[in-house]
């Protein structure tokens, strides 16, 4: 507890590569949840004790594949109801996961526990510059309230410049389901 400021947590984490379970990196972090105003994202400082794997090759393959599509990429329900993700959609899924991490961070409090539940819809937006742009509608699951929250996010990505969420907004839930 830090008087008049908020609650600070000191964490020691082991990060595991989702695509390679044997690849792990240790990490220390400090997270400060601000008192009062719940509209401020928690402060996060972290130190990686090691290096993350280089993904240039896979990144470039995906980048070139999408850049060379004639029609904009469009997809729905990733994973589908049965948990399937078509192999060519896996990078789209992973990108959403990273981008939703940002959205989750920006909207987390000590009383939330968000996970990406599903991509409802994704549409590529063609750009004249080198970036790839995707307009996602995702569902976030909050473990604490058990709510499923639709969220729109616009994601920019480039192999060398990384991920950016340029726009995001919480969407209203449907009443009857």
């Amino acid at each position: 507890d830090i008087d008049d400021v908020g609650h600070k947590y000191y964490l020691e984490l082991e990060l595991e590569d989702v695509l390679d379970k044997d690849s792990t990196v240790n990490c220390t972090a400090e997270v400060l949840y601000h008192l009062g105003n719940k509209n401020i994202a928690p402060d996060v400082q972290f130190t990686l004790e090691g290096e993350l794997k280089n993904t240039d090759e896979a990144d470039n393959i995906f980048y070139n594949r999408v850049k060379s599509l004639e029609k904009e990429l469009v997809a729905e329900n990733i994973p589908d109801s049965h948990g399937n993700v078509p192999p060519e959609m896996e990078p789209i899924h992973l990108l959403a996961w990273v981008a939703s991490g940002y959205v989750i961070w920006q909207n987390s409090t000590e009383n939330t526990k968000f996970q990406l539940a599903q991509i409802k819809h994704v549409k590529q937006v063609k750009r004249t510059d080198e970036y790839l742009e995707f307009d996602y509608m995702i569902l976030l699951h909050d473990m604490v309230s058990q709510e499923i929250i639709p969220w729109q996010m616009t994601v920019l990505w480039h192999p060398q410049h990384g991920v950016q969420v340029t726009q995001d907004s919480r969407q209203p839930k449907h009443a009857s389901g």
Partner: protein, 397 residues
Amino acid sequence: HQVLRIKTRNEEEVKQLQLLESLEHLELDFWINPSTAALPVDVRIPANNVQAVKAFLESHGIEYSILIEDLQVVLDKEKEDMAYGQQRERSSNSFNYGVYHTLDSIYAELDHLASEYSNIVSKLQIGQSYEKRPLYVLKFSTGGRNRPAIWLDAGIHSREWVTQASAIWIAKKIASDYGNDPSVTSLLNKMDIFLLTVSNPDGYVFTHTTNRMWRKTRSKNPGSVCVGVDPNRNWDAGFGGPGASSNPCSDSYRGPSANSEVEVRSVVNFIKNHGNIRAFLTLHSYSQLLMYPYGYKCTQPADYAELDALGRAAASSIRSLYGTTFTVGSICTTIYQASGGSIDWSYDYGIKYSFAFELRDTGRYGFVLPASQIIPTAEETWLGLKKIMEHVRDNPY
């Protein structure tokens, strides 16, 4: 190839056959070797040597008969029979436990299990859902009258698909293990098991037709456009307390009153009428947790030490199969304070062994767990359940 049966009458004839045996170029395969005149000699002869061997036997006056005229024909028929048998097995039980099924498909399999294992499995209806779908329970019993019993349910939250899928696999497992697995056999010789594979059929159908993420029942809420009640906030245990919402639009809406949901009321009535339920086990997903009461309050249950130890033993059994780790603790300390939960009700009702499982995974796929993980999840979960059931069997109270 032919197989001949040779009847030797004396030692002299046996010696002749032993001579024949030594002629390697004939490639004779003795199924019964020549040793004494008292026993027949059976020998397989390659096709191109059959005439030569017969000529030899006839010239020495040795009696023989043809056991198998054409061995290949016999082998071909055997192969055909085996394939036919396998195909019959496949088409009589074509339920694939490794994929997600519709409600109708699960209900058909319940009937199939009750029929295939009719000596120990029967299907009961304990009530109807809001939209009038039957609530079916499988009873596993080897007899007796009102034996002490274990209750197991799945799918109370309809979007948690791996639970209904695991439950039907577990039903098959219990049925087929009786008489084969010593532990299951001794368990069913002493106790009954009641298994509700789909606790919330209306919600389950809705997840197939309309909204994969639907959690609640489908009951109408007067005065609200929002539908449904969280069936695991609707039990009479700390009802109305913290950890449940009073807003009908919420996914954790507790309902207008405890037991307002027919899906909950039906189970409560069944358990009360039975009168001899000794364990209450319920399956949820996801998070990989194994929990005991309480959820509605953060104080320890009286049987904390025993429940915690048993929970840890069960988690250890789960981990032994694929390394999947479950966190053990009370609901309140492990996930959150939540009132109106089923195992809190069952525990306060007097059912000491009350546990709630949250199955795979920890969030990567969450509710939309790939079907390829159904059977591994069911297998490991079964080990944990079995550990608990064995303890219940061995510790009557």
